[in-house]
Symmetry: C2
Subunit: 222 residues, 2 copies
DNA sequence: ATCCGGATTATGGTTTTCCGTAAAATACTG
DNA sequence: CAGTATTTTACGGAAAACCATAATCCGGAT
């Protein structure tokens, strides 16, 4: 079982619940941070003192308010922690149910478990902690387990996402072309953009560009 | 202070926290529902038994899963409860920080308090309970208090929202016209739709329709 | 009934997007 | 290096969206 645990979660009512779970599992050495920055600093300090944490439980969305922060959300925190301490176990604990984002957490950030905040999240969190502590298996809440099966057979480029984000923020196709040219992004012709959009619409079964942006927004891609 | 309280909240970790707050305030007679439907039935039953609840604390978003539900979210629950029992006090407890939606809860659903799930939500919840129990004042978390000041000088019609929703789900303007004609919605000409969209774009400072849909989606209007 | 004002609808022209085809550039292969 | 495949770019017509103006409808006031 884990010896030293850190929790990153801003909502007090929830961190209270997590605390209870840890106590039930006889984990007494745990810290709690309401800010991602703080959590990261603590973890780095712990490494320097040769007493690293061996588990991170992190929320994904954080209310930043007007405070200046380096790490704005759990995704970023997890990324940086994975770089800093590759062997640590990471459990994401979130209400996020967009399959794309969950899949991305496993694929790109190498989380060990994803627990959905839900009606029985406390039990699931216990189970997740148990599994990742005793093995190298991953855990995912059954409600969203299908996320992992989803084959993203068609790869979305970074350029695709750029285009979608620009469209969502009111940039016309012609303007996007100008921007790409000035930034020297490779495909920057009218046709290229059009073709990419056409493929995206095809893949996401979108009737038109508005629909496409709407869908990808809902999926949490942009 | 309140005698009988009902909590509608699906995430177990959070309802645990609320429970603690109620206990601290010496409120022992409280019920807890993970489903809106269930909460509503309990409240109706309580009225029939002449022992109505005098406070509802409700989350806004609920994970429905694949279960058949009549009331899908907290907004709807609050609306129905307000109709059923006009004098009951209602506190919304949510992570929702879109000012439009918060304002709408006060204006259209007549909630008495809005507490944002945040770093000090437990203290705020206590304060909210206290205020609404001892007076007819309303309470709103300071982080989102500005929501109420926002003057929606220009008011959005139900038709506007219909149009936006249709656009977001891939319906072209021409198709919307057809739909409106078949449903006998009053303004159903090309020009009317165009004019409304133009006003909306003007108001929301949107460059084009994609941008408009994107903005209104972010604001939680559609 | 007539006039007025606002809302709805109609019309036409411009811009933007959409979509198919084809040329040019690049990469890959023997 | 020639030849082929893939990607990027170019072009042009059709559709949709955009925008300004004008005509029509309709309820209320005189």
């Amino acid at each position: 079982m884990f010896k030293k645990v850190i929790v990153a979660e801003d909502v007090d009512a929830i961190s209270l619940g997590i605390e209870q779970v840890l106590k039930e599992l006889n984990i007494v050495n745990f810290q709690h941070s309401k800010y991602c920055d703080e959590a990261f600093l603590k973890m780095r300090a712990a490494i320097n003192q040769n007493e690293p944490y061996d588990l991170l439980i992190s929320d994904l969305s954080f209310k930043t308010g007007h405070r200046e922060v380096k790490i704005k959300d759990g995704d970023e925190l997890i990324q940086k922690v994975r770089d800093l301490q590759p062997d640590i176990k990471i459990i994401a604990f979130s209400v996020e149910d967009k399959s794309y984002r969950i899949k991305s957490l496993f694929d790109n950030s190498g989380i060990d478990a994803f627990v959905l905040k839900s009606m029985n999240s406390i039990e699931e969190l216990k189970k997740a902690i148990h599994i990742v502590s005793t093995s190298d298996q991953t855990f995912i809440s059954p409600e969203v387990a299908s996320a992992l099966q989803e084959k993203n057979n068609f790869e979305m480029d970074d350029v695709d996402i750029q285009i979608l984000k620009h469209l969502a923020s009111g940039t016309s196709q012609d303007e996007i072309i100008e921007i790409f040219k000035s930034l020297e992004v490779k495909p920057n012709s009218k046709s290229a953009i059009e073709k990419r959009l056409s493929k995206l619409k095809d893949f996401f079964k979108a009737n038109n560009t508005i629909h496409l942006v709407s869908i990808t927004k809902d999926m949490g891609i942009i």
